[in-house]
Symmetry: C2
Subunit: 373 residues, 2 copies
Amino acid sequence: MKIVVDAMGGDHAPEAIVEGAVLAAREYDTKIILTGLSEQIQTELDKHDPDHLLPIEIVHADEVVEMHDSPGKVLRSKRKSSMKIGLDLVKQGEGVAFVSAGNTGAVLAYSTVILRPVKGVDRPAIAIQLPTLKGTSILLDAGANVDCKTNQLFQFGIMGHVFAEYILEKENPSVGLLSIGEEDGKGNEIVKETFQMLKKSHINFIGNIEGKEVYRGNADVIVCDGFTGNVALKISESLAEMIGTNLKLMFQSTWLSKLGYLFLKPQLVQFKKKVDHSETGGAPLLGVNGVVIIAHGSSSPKAIKNAINRAYELREKNIIDHIKQDIELNLSDVENSKGTIWKQIKSIAFGSEGAEQKGEEIPPTPDSKPNET
Amino acid sequence: MKIVVDAMGGDHAPEAIVEGAVLAAREYDTKIILTGLSEQIQTELDKHDPDHLLPIEIVHADEVVEMHDSPGKVLRSKRKSSMKIGLDLVKQGEGVAFVSAGNTGAVLAYSTVILRPVKGVDRPAIAIQLPTLKGTSILLDAGANVDCKTNQLFQFGIMGHVFAEYILEKENPSVGLLSIGEEDGKGNEIVKETFQMLKKSHINFIGNIEGKEVYRGNADVIVCDGFTGNVALKISESLAEMIGTNLKLMFQSTWLSKLGYLFLKPQLVQFKKKVDHSETGGAPLLGVNGVVIIAHGSSSPKAIKNAINRAYELREKNIIDHIKQDIELNLSDVENSKGTIWKQIKSIAFGSEGAEQKGEEIPPTPDSKPNET
């Protein structure tokens, strides 16, 4: 089982990426393929593993996707990039998972085009782990899809449920829909429609949850569109930064407060570790036919090591197969309940017996728009 | 100048509201009208002002809007509520501003129906002050409008600019559009269209800002739809709560950390004051013909006092007139630039000279859809 790692992606590539791969290979005995400019990678690798003892291979790729490249441009013109070649290796079965700290839009575009979405999934979603008062929750979509349809949010719910069950190992994980009020009718149009769909699914849907509930950890899975999810996460980062800066100023303001800081340091270090994104090891892209982990652009070697480990774990636990099964199960649930609704309409219109006899007068079930039934 | 206060709105009504009114009347010599169940209000008032020396009147209202009442139901059935009667007093000129800590949806619905939106404003927006690393910014809409059109976001930008200029007293305040990337083309469809409109306005539009920028304070005004705004604010509350809880646990974990806490206490109290919503005194509802302040449901007497003071200030500084002027100015800007675009189309189609002559063949400027030009 080899994990393919894009050695050229991220703010500190290839140094931090190669070092992260070395750490992973040492700590977990993971086999790794690094893709990218082979000379540069070899130079970095030689620093850590001069005798080539670690199970790390290099596959050369001529081109590098830059952080500012538009995904469209990358798809059209960078056919020899470390990302493209890395994902091709996963597609061909050479590797079992792909890790990149590079341009998120490009990873998303390549993954969708090369690995293709799982049957029944319209678009993959980025899932982010959040530290909460009760432990860990995941939020999806964190930014892959800005304008989402009802079907997509529904699929995010199913995929998030699978992730929480098999990877976070939560029993019957709870799924909440991020909205602006807890009551059934609250939210924008898409949220209201998704609410009705999730209510009919077999997962443990606990209804709408408000922003103020997120870090309390009452929902194991938080479903939202990628625009809202991205804003929610980044504003959290921003607030944490402001509080951190203010705490630092506080600690430095008097000699007494400096002493106070020293006394609190062990606890502060522990808390920082709890909320540090590099500990969780990147965000999985859920919904394509293959394990893909998107690491933070500023990933340290430790963050890359954890991302590789996370990729290995997702593959070990067969996350893709579980997603396929649950999507299929829930789609058939929705299909069946659609049938039920149409049967109800028929029976209202023609009486309970007449439904089948006059079936030809009823418009067909609109398969392409299950959210409208 | 009398400020009308809904004595029955909020989790601690009427006690906290009456006490807040008493504090405001004492501290600022503000004249106040309290609306609601007169006996209850009088009982509370007598506790603080037994000799009736303060400039506080009571206007009786038979009905109370409950926190869980739907705005539609309230509009239809609670015609004698403290909110309705309070806003009627403002409409009739008996009072100059209205303050309520009650059901936000109902305040919004009543204000829109009774006071009517300012000409050129489709819907009012709730503006919330945020503490930032640089001081204070405002974010709007914080939840009044879940599904927003481009025009509305544009109007929020203008109104926020006015608020920042006249109330926060910022010179040439900067206005940012909340999105998922700083570049021009980033965001959902509505954001992309709004970007183009704000670019043409006369205000200091600094483009998209990401969630991570919000608490850095680089934009004085942050524009977003009410769904995103509500989620962003409530998730901030949630994160602050989680960090606060963790800090408390930290402080209590060892005798050394307890000592550390004692040394830091003065700074912590100061920081808490900086981010405490009761200090800012409620959120103005911008865009109706009258000053309306929505206070937090859990408002303390101090928060109510600050909300009354804020209402007074908005009236003193003629915020409504400034909004009217700036909305008019910017709408004509957009109209003019629309004209320019049509002139360009004409000149491309018929040559620079032919435009006027063949004017009748050109479709009329679509007034109802300025966002599409």
